[in-house]
Symmetry: none
Subunit: 232 residues, 2 copies
DNA sequence: AAAATTTCTTAACGAAATGTTAATATGTCA
DNA sequence: TGACATATTAACATTTCGTTAAGAAATTTT
């Protein structure tokens, strides 16, 4: 069962980081590993995460500094700190930044897992409050991205696959404007490379087939840049 | 500066309990102290609290049992457990019940305070308790989720099992909208994994069998997302 | 407290949905 | 034109779902 949750793990000890990443991956989380605060911040900005696990003691940029930077961008994303020893000061600073929890190394992986589940559960309840827009009208279509249904007025309805759905949503949110390839790839495929790019093309083709029902709608390519959903 | 927050502290060691109560009181919390699970449950019912701190090891009724009883009454109140040693099993059980956190004795009081603040901060947004609705009408059915009875108008009535009942209630509360799998699993099964997911499918099948009596009602699956109870 | 009944979990497996990759064709730009 | 980017289709691999059935666990009845 794929949990669909993305975790950013920032840990400078490569062995420990690797093991922890594998453990979380086995437990069905998508894990991105960064080895220091700088890389962590870059990766945090490049794609979207549901939770961050930050080691506090790291070279170049420590976990607390990274946490502050992350909090500036995102006020709600859950943060879990890993502290080498029981450094009370670090723990208190962490809470001040808005940590959700901390764990003292060495810790039990099952307990980390329980914490993660517990934190993600309560956040998902809170996020119901968050008013995410999911109903759109464009051309002769109405589109519900929560139910993943695209319906042609006085025509048929299509059930969209998750990828189709995400891609169409991004196009619609940028209606008549450029949707840069990289942005879409990093958000939907979580990586931008040759293969994900080919995959995206496949999905653009699928969407074009749906949108064919309205002659006035087009997804045009901007060579080397991305795609643009437009009318006329 | 009175924080106005009420804490229920259940701790069997009278000395420690007293000290902890005083410490929290100094920090502007209203603290009610109970010395065992039985007294704790009584006091919980007598007035309203914003947070509970429960010692796990207690005579008569331990903290986990008390927690379960509290959770039956109140699904959202934050629970913090105190464990004498780092008893992994207790910790994991605690999370399964829906703990927000745990602390290992001996712990630092400042850290407890930081945890309490952190937990109350995030909860204070959500604590809008609604009156529990338990009577529903949909399609040709009326459904009483307190009595667990689903009755087909001019047809027969079905006694629902607890799980059938909870699941149907969640579907009805999200009528015509998506009920995400994870949300339902975490609420009803308290865990989302391969097995609970299979179990949920079994229950969806059971509900579909009941709802067959009204041809216009359907529970449809949104692949990878969840289920949707809808009409027509 | 034993027996009967109901509820719940787990396993197995086929069916359906989804995603990736390959192969090949077409288009764009310098 | 040559190099590279994009388009489309098809084959394949993987994941998710639906159902049945067997047995474990809990609850109720006798």
């Amino acid at each position: 069962m794929k949990s669909n949750k993305n975790i950013l793990l920032v840990e400078d000890d490569p062995n420990f980081g690797r093991i922890l990443k594998d453990y979380l991956t086995i437990n069905n989380y998508e894990v991105t590993l960064a080895v220091n605060g700088i890389e962590g911040f870059e990766k945090f900005n490049r794609s979207e995460f549901d939770l961050c696990i930050l080691d506090i003691m790291m070279p170049f940029k420590d976990g607390l500094t990274l946490a502050r930077e992350i909090r500036e961008i995102n006020e709600v994303i859950p943060l879990i700190f890993l502290t080498a020893k029981n450094l009370k000061d670090d723990v208190l600073k962490g809470y001040k930044i808005g940590a959700d929890d901390y764990l003292t190394k060495p810790f039990d992986s099952e307990i980390l897992l329980a914490k993660i589940k517990s934190i993600l559960n309560r956040k998902s309840n809170v996020n119901i409050e968050e008013k995410d827009v999911f109903e759109f009208e464009f051309g002769e279509f109405s589109f519900n991205s929560k139910l993943r249904i695209l319906s042609h007025k006085m025509g048929e309805s299509y059930k969209l696959s998750p990828k189709e759905n995400q891609l169409l949503k991004m196009l619609v949110l940028n209606f008549d404007d450029l949707l840069p390839r990289d942005i879409a790839l990093n958000k939907i495929w979580r990586d931008a490379n040759y293969f994900t790019s080919r995959s995206m093309d496949v999905y653009i083709a699928k969407l074009r087939k749906y949108l064919d029902k309205d002659m006035s709608l087009k997804i045009i390519n901007v060579h080397g840049e991305g795609f643009r959903l437009m009318q006329e």
